[in-house]
C-alpha cells in the first residue's frame, strides 16, 4: 500500500503542470500563424530604380551562400513533409520522380544557378537580389527544399498568362531569367522598341484577376467577362518610377488592404506577386524603396540620385539628414556617368510642384519666400530638383521660420545669411520678432556664420564652451571675473548661455574688477556679497566700470566693512590697508589694531581680482612705533599714517611712551613722509596741543598754556591715527598746578609761565598742594618750563 504524502502530491502536481505546458506549447507553436501586416509598401513605388539596377550587390559566391542558407538541407528524395501524402508521392502524381534538385544545387548548361543569376544580373545590369526574389515569388524556388522540375521550366513565370498554359519557348531557368532581365532592362531604358502596358504616371491597376470560383477553388482569369474584371475592384496607381513599372509589367495587380494585412498569407480578392516581392526583398535584403544614396567602391563621394540626375553630397550633416533615403549603396562608375551631374547638394530641394523646401532630419519645411531663403544663406535658384517620390519620402514639417531652434536647445535668429543666437524671448521681443520656431539639428545651419547675438541689456551671459560669464550692456559684454561668478552679487540678474562664437561678436571689455560707478558717478565696490557705496573713493583710485542703474538696482547691498579700507583677499591670510590707491600689507596683529582708528577688528573680504587691481606697496607699521633702517642710525617715530618724524633722543620717545625700535629695510622706511622737525615733547592732534610726559599725553589747554608758558611751544603734527595711538590723559594739563621730578624732592609751583621751587612742605600745603594736582614730570618736561623765583 502506498501513501501519497503532501510533499509527493506537490511534486506530482508540479511535474504535471510542466508537462501539460510543454505539450500545449508544442501544439500551439506548430499550429500558430503569426500574420505580420505589410508595412511601408507604396503601390506606386515598390522598389527604387537604383536598387533595382544595382548589379554590384552580390558576387557569385554570395549568391551561392545565400541560396545555401535558405535551404540548409535539400530533401532530394522527397521523404520529408508532414502531410499524409509524402512529397515523393506528390511529385509522382504529376508524372515526375525523385531525385529532386534544389536551386542551390541546380545546374544548367554547366553553370550553377548562382552563376546564372549573376550572369543575367551583369548582362542586363539588374540587381541579382531582384532576380532571387523573382524566383522566389514566382515559384518559391529559393526556399523550396523539394522543388519539382516544372518550377525550373517557368522559374520566373515568364510567358505564363493566367488564362493559358505557359509558352514553352520561354522554358528553362537560364531562359526565364534572361527574358526577365531583358524585359526589366527594356523598361528601365524606356526602350522605344519595348512597349509596356503601364507608364510612369497614373495607371488603372486591379486588385485581383477576378472572382473566386467555388467549384474549382481558384480564381478566374481576370478578363473573363466585364463583371469578372471589375469584381475585386481597381484603383488608380501613380507609378513613380520605372522599376515599379517593370514590376507591374510582370504582375499587373496590386495587393488590397486585406492582402497587406495578411503578411505572406492569402485573402479573398488578394493578389500577392508584388506584395511578396516587397516582403521577400525587405526581409532578405532590406528596404527596396530607398537606394538613392550611392557611391562607387573607388571614390568616397556620395551622390543623391534623383531620376537622371546625381547630386554630390559634400557635407556629412546633409548626408545624415537624408537617412530616410536609406543606406548608401555601391554602384559602378559607369552607372554614375550615365547620370547628369548636378550641383553639390545643399539644404534646398524642390519638386515638380515648384515648392522649395529646406530639409533636415528627414523633415522638409517649405520656405515662405525667396527673402527667407536668402536669410538662410541660399540663393533662390539653388534647390536641387528631386523626384516627387523622394520629396514625398521626407516628412512634411511646418513652414520655415526665421527663428531656428536646435535639438540641443539653442535658438538662433536667422537673418541675412547669419545666425544670431537668441538669449531669451524678451531679447527677441525687443527686436520685434515672433518666437515661433522649428526645432532641427544645429548642423543644418552650420553653413551660416555667427552674427551679433540677440540679447537684451542688463543680463548675464555664460559661454557654453568656457563657462565664462559676461554682463550684457549697451551692445557690449563686460567679462565677469571667476571670483565673482558664484557670488550673491549677481544672482538677481538673468543668466543664460550662448556660444563663445556669439559672444565674440560683441566688444568684450576687460574683466570686471569690482569697481563700478552708476550713471551719476557714485562709486561702488562690488564684492561677493553685493555692492558698497564708497565713502572715500579717493582712497581706492580704482578703474571704475560704469554699470546701468538697472544692474545696480539688482545687486544687493553688501554688509562688508569696505569703507574701513582694511581688506583681505579671499583665500589669503594677509590683511591690507588701502591708502591712496595702494594696498599696504599689515605685518602684525598689533599693527592692524593700531591702524584702526576705531580700534575695531573688521576687514572686508574682497575677491582676488578686486584686490589684485589695487597695487601693492610695502608693509605698513602702525603709528606709535619706532623704526629705523638697517643702513642708517636715524630712528623715527611713526606719528601718523605713512608719516614719521625723526627722534632726537630716546628720552622724548620715553615721554611718548614709545619703546622698542623695529629695524626694517630702507625702502620700507622710505614709504613714510618725514616731518621737517625732530620730535619734541609737544604734539598737535586735531588742532590741539599736547604735552608728552612719561608716556602720557596731556592737553595743553589755554589756561595751561599760560601757566606753563607753552604759548609759543611748537609741537609735531600727528594725524588722527597717530594721535589715537597716544595715551591721552583725561585731565587737562592746567589741572596740575605743581610739578616735580620723580626722583627729586623739589616741588614746583607752576604759575605765570614759570616753575617756582617751593621751599617747604608747609609752604606747599599753604599753596594748596594736594596729591592730585601735582604732576610727576620727566627731566625733559621740567626743562621745558622756564625757571622762576622760589616761593
Amino acid at each position: 500500500m502506498s501513501i501519497i504524502t503532501p510533499k509527493k502530491r506537490i511534486i506530482t502536481t508540479l511535474f504535471a503542470f510542466i508537462a501539460l505546458s510543454l505539450i500545449g506549447t508544442i501544439i500551439a507553436s506548430s499550429s500558430m500563424v503569426f500574420a505580420t501586416p505589410v508595412v511601408g509598401l507604396n503601390p506606386g513605388f515598390i522598389i527604387n530604380d537604383n536598387i533595382f539596377t544595382n548589379d554590384q550587390t552580390m558576387t557569385v559566391k554570395q549568391i551561392q551562400d545565400f541560396l545555401n542558407s535558405k535551404v540548409p538541407v535539400c530533401d532530394t528524395w522527397g521523404t520529408g513533409g508532414s502531410t499524409a501524402t509524402s512529397r515523393r508521392d506528390y511529385i509522382r502524381s504529376w508524372g515526375y520522380d525523385t531525385p529532386l534538385t534544389c536551386l542551390r544545387d541546380y545546374k544548367e548548361g554547366g553553370k550553377s544557378s548562382a552563376q546564372i543569376i549573376y550572369d543575367v544580373a551583369q548582362k542586363y545590369h539588374i540587381n541579382p537580389q531582384v532576380l532571387i526574389v523573382l524566383l522566389q515569388k514566382e515559384q518559391g524556388l529559393v526556399t523550396d527544399d523539394w522543388p519539382g522540375p516544372w518550377q525550373y521550366e517557368k522559374a520566373t513565370g515568364y510567358g505564363c498568362p493566367d488564362t493559358a498554359p505557359c509558352d514553352s519557348q520561354y522554358y528553362g531557368l537560364t531562359n526565364q531569367l534572361d527574358w526577365s532581365g531583358k524585359m526589366y532592362r527594356a523598361i528601365m531604358n524606356d526602350s522605344p522598341t519595348w512597349y509596356s502596358p503601364y507608364v510612369v504616371g497614373n495607371n488603372k491597376i486591379y486588385y485581383n484577376p477576378g472572382p473566386y470560383n467555388n467549384a474549382t477553388q481558384s480564381y478566374y482569369g481576370r478578363f473573363g467577362t466585364k463583371a469578372d474584371i471589375e469584381y475585386c475592384g481597381s484603383s488608380t496607381v501613380n507609378i513613380q518610377n520605372r522599376a515599379t513599372q517593370a514590376l507591374y509589367d510582370y504582375t499587373p495587380y496590386q495587393p488590397n488592404q486585406a492582402a497587406l494585412d495578411a503578411g505572406y498569407g492569402s485573402v479573398f480578392c488578394g493578389a500577392y506577386g508584388n506584395r511578396n516581392f516587397y516582403l521577400y526583398f525587405s526581409d532578405w535584403f532590406g528596404s527596396p524603396q530607398f537606394g538613392n544614396l550611392v557611391r562607387t567602391r573607388e571614390n568616397a563621394t556620395v551622390y543623391l540620385i534623383s531620376d537622371d540626375d546625381r547630386y554630390p553630397i559634400a557635407d556629412a550633416s546633409i548626408l545624415s539628414s537624408l537617412k530616410p533615403f536609406g543606406d548608401i549603396t555601391y554602384v559602378t562608375q559607369s552607372y554614375l556617368d550615365a547620370k547628369s551631374l548636378g550641383r553639390t547638394l545643399g539644404r534646398l530641394i524642390t519638386s515638380s510642384s515648384g515648392t522649395i523646401y529646406y530639409f533636415d532630419s528627414g523633415i522638409k519645411l517649405a520656405f515662405k519666400s525667396c527673402a527667407q531663403m536668402v536669410d538662410y544663406g541660399y540663393d533662390c535658384t539653388q534647390p536641387a530638383l528631386l523626384s516627387d517620390y523622394l520629396i514625398g519620402s521626407l516628412s512634411t514639417g511646418p513652414s520655415m521660420t526665421n527663428v531656428f531652434q536646435t535639438t540641443n536647445g539653442k535658438r538662433f535668429y536667422i537673418k541675412s545669411g547669419e545666425k544670431k543666437e537668441i538669449y531669451d524671448d524678451a531679447s527677441l521681443q525687443k527686436i520685434g520678432v515672433s518666437a515661433n520656431s522649428n526645432t532641427l539639428n544645429e548642423s543644418a545651419i552650420s553653413n551660416l556664420s555667427y552674427g551679433s547675438p540677440v540679447i537684451r541689456d542688463d543680463v548675464i551671459v555664460t559661454s557654453r564652451e568656457t563657462g565664462s560669464k559676461y554682463i550684457s550692456q549697451n551692445g557690449r559684454f563686460i567679462k565677469l571675473s571667476a571670483y565673482l561668478l558664484d557670488s550673491d552679487a549677481f544672482t538677481k540678474l538673468s543668466d543664460s548661455k550662448l556660444d563663445s562664437a556669439s559672444i565674440n561678436e560683441f566688444t568684450i571689455s576687460k574683466s570686471f574688477n569690482g569697481f563700478a560707478q552708476n550713471s551719476t558717478g557714485k562709486k561702488y565696490i562690488i564684492d561677493s556679497y553685493g555692492k558698497t557705496l564708497l565713502s572715500n573713493p579717493e582712497e581706492w583710485l580704482g578703474s571704475y566700470t560704469t554699470l546701468t542703474d538697472t544692474i545696480f538696482g539688482l545687486i544687493p547691498n553688501s554688509t562688508q566693512p569696505v569703507n574701513s579700507r582694511f581688506i583681505k583677499v579671499d583665500g589669503e591670510s594677509t590683511i591690507y590697508m588701502v591708502i591712496k590707491g595702494k594696498k599696504y600689507s599689515i605685518p602684525s596683529w598689533n599693527d592692524f589694531l593700531n591702524l584702526h582708528i576705531d580700534k575695531s577688528t573688521k576687514w572686508a573680504l574682497l575677491p582676488k581680482i578686486t584686490a589684485d587691481s589695487i597695487p601693492t606697496s610695502k608693509p605698513i607699521y602702525a603709528p606709535g612705533g619706532l623704526v629705523k633702517s638697517s643702513s642708517s642710525a636715524a630712528v623715527y617715530v611713526i606719528n601718523g599714517l605713512l608719516q614719521k618724524i625723526a627722534l632726537s633722543s630716546f628720552a622724548v620717545s620715553d615721554d611718548f611712551g614709545i619703546k622698542g625700535v623695529i629695524t626694517i629695510p630702507q625702502d620700507y622706511v622710505n614709504i613714510y613722509a618725514t616731518d621737517n622737525d625732530k620730535l619734541n615733547n609737544f604734539v598737535v592732534c586735531d588742532n590741539k596741543k599736547y604735552l608728552a610726559n612719561r608716556g602720557v599725553i596731556y592737553e595743553i589747554d589755554a589756561k595751561a598754556s599760560t601757566m606753563y608758558g607753552y604759548s609759543s611751544a611748537v609741537g609735531s603734527l600727528w594725524d588722527d591715527i597717530g594721535c589715537v595711538n597716544l595715551d591721552m590723559s583725561s585731565r587737562l594739563l592746567s589741572t596740575y598746578s605743581f610739578v616735580k621730578e620723580d626722583d627729586s624732592k623739589t616741588i614746583y609751583l607752576i604759575k605765570d609761565g614759570k616753575k617756582h621751587p617751593i621751599s617747604s612742605m608747609a609752604r606747599y600745603d599753604a599753596l594748596g598742594g594736594l596729591s592730585n594736582n601735582m604732576l610727576i614730570v620727566s627731566n625733559r618736561v621740567l626743562n621745558t618750563i622756564v625757571d622762576g623765583p622760589a616761593v
Binding site: 510533499k7 508540479l14 510542466i18 505546458s21 510543454l22 506549447t25 508544442i26 507553436s29 500558430m32 500563424v33 505580420t36 545565400f66 535558405k70 535551404v71 504529376w94 508524372g95 515526375y96 522566389q136 515569388k137 514566382e138 518559391g140 529559393v142 526556399t143 519539382g148 516544372w150 521550366e153 513565370g157 515568364y158 510567358g159 505564363c160 493566367d162 493559358a164 498554359p165 514553352s168 524585359m183 519595348w194 512597349y195 509596356s196 502596358p197 503601364y198 507608364v199 497614373n202 495607371n203 488603372k204 491597376i205 477576378g210 481558384s218 482569369g221 481576370r222 478578363f223 473573363g224 467577362t225 469578372d228 509589367d249 499587373p252 503578411g263 505572406y264 498569407g265 500577392y272 511578396n276
Partner: protein, 172 residues
C-alpha cells in the same frame, strides 16, 4: 526521532534542475517553431516557405505538358480580354496604354476615338510581356485631339480571338 535532512535537500535540487531543463526544452521548442533565438539565423521562415510552396503548387504542371490547372472562364473562349490601363495627357501628346490578356507578339490593335463627328484612328501591333501583352502604342499628338470628351474604343485581334474595351476620355 531521526530527521534525514540531506535526503530532502537532494529532492529539492533534483526538482529545480528538472524544472529548469524542462523549461529550456520548452523555450527551444517555441523558438524553433517561431524562428526565435537561436533558430532565427539566415534560414527561411515558415511563412516564407509556405508562401513559396503555395505558389509552387498553384503552378504545377504534369510532366506530359498537359496543363490541367484551371485557367480563366472557359465560357469566354474566343474572347480576348482587353482593358485600358493608362490615359495621360502632357503638353505634347496623349499616352494611351492597354493590357491584353494573352502572351502574343502577333495580332493587331485598333484605337478609335470619336468626338462630335470627328474620328481619329490609330493602329499598332502587339508586344508580348511576361504574363500579358500590350498594344505597341499609343502616343497621339495633342494637335490631333481637340479638347472635350472622346469616345475611345480599343479593338484587339489575335488570330481568331477578338476583344475590345471602350471608355470616354476627356482631353483638356
Amino acid at each position: 526521532m531521526k530527521i534525514n535532512k540531506r535526503k530532502s535537500n537532494k529532492k529539492i535540487i533534483t526538482i529545480i534542475t528538472s524544472s529548469m531543463i524542462i523549461l529550456a526544452v520548452l523555450y527551444c521548442t517555441v523558438a524553433y517553431f517561431n524562428d526565435l533565438f537561436p533558430f532565427n539565423s539566415d534560414k527561411a521562415t515558415n511563412e516564407q516557405k509556405d508562401a513559396g510552396e503555395d505558389q509552387k503548387k498553384s503552378t504545377a504542371v504534369p510532366a506530359d505538358g498537359k496543363d490541367t490547372t484551371p485557367k480563366g472562364n472557359t465560357s469566354t473562349d474566343g474572347i480576348i480580354a482587353v482593358d485600358f490601363t493608362s490615359f495621360n495627357q502632357s503638353t505634347e501628346q496623349i499616352q494611351i496604354r492597354s493590357l491584353i490578356e494573352a502572351v502574343s507578339n502577333s495580332g493587331s490593335c485598333t484605337l478609335t476615338m470619336v468626338k462630335d463627328g470627328v474620328t481619329v484612328t490609330k493602329t499598332s501591333g502587339i508586344q508580348a510581356g511576361p504574363t500579358t501583352s500590350t498594344c505597341e502604342g499609343f502616343n497621339i499628338s495633342i494637335g490631333e485631339l481637340s479638347p472635350g470628351d472622346w469616345q475611345t474604343t480599343l479593338s484587339v485581334e489575335i488570330g481568331t480571338r477578338k476583344g475590345s474595351a471602350t471608355k470616354t476620355y476627356k482631353v483638356q
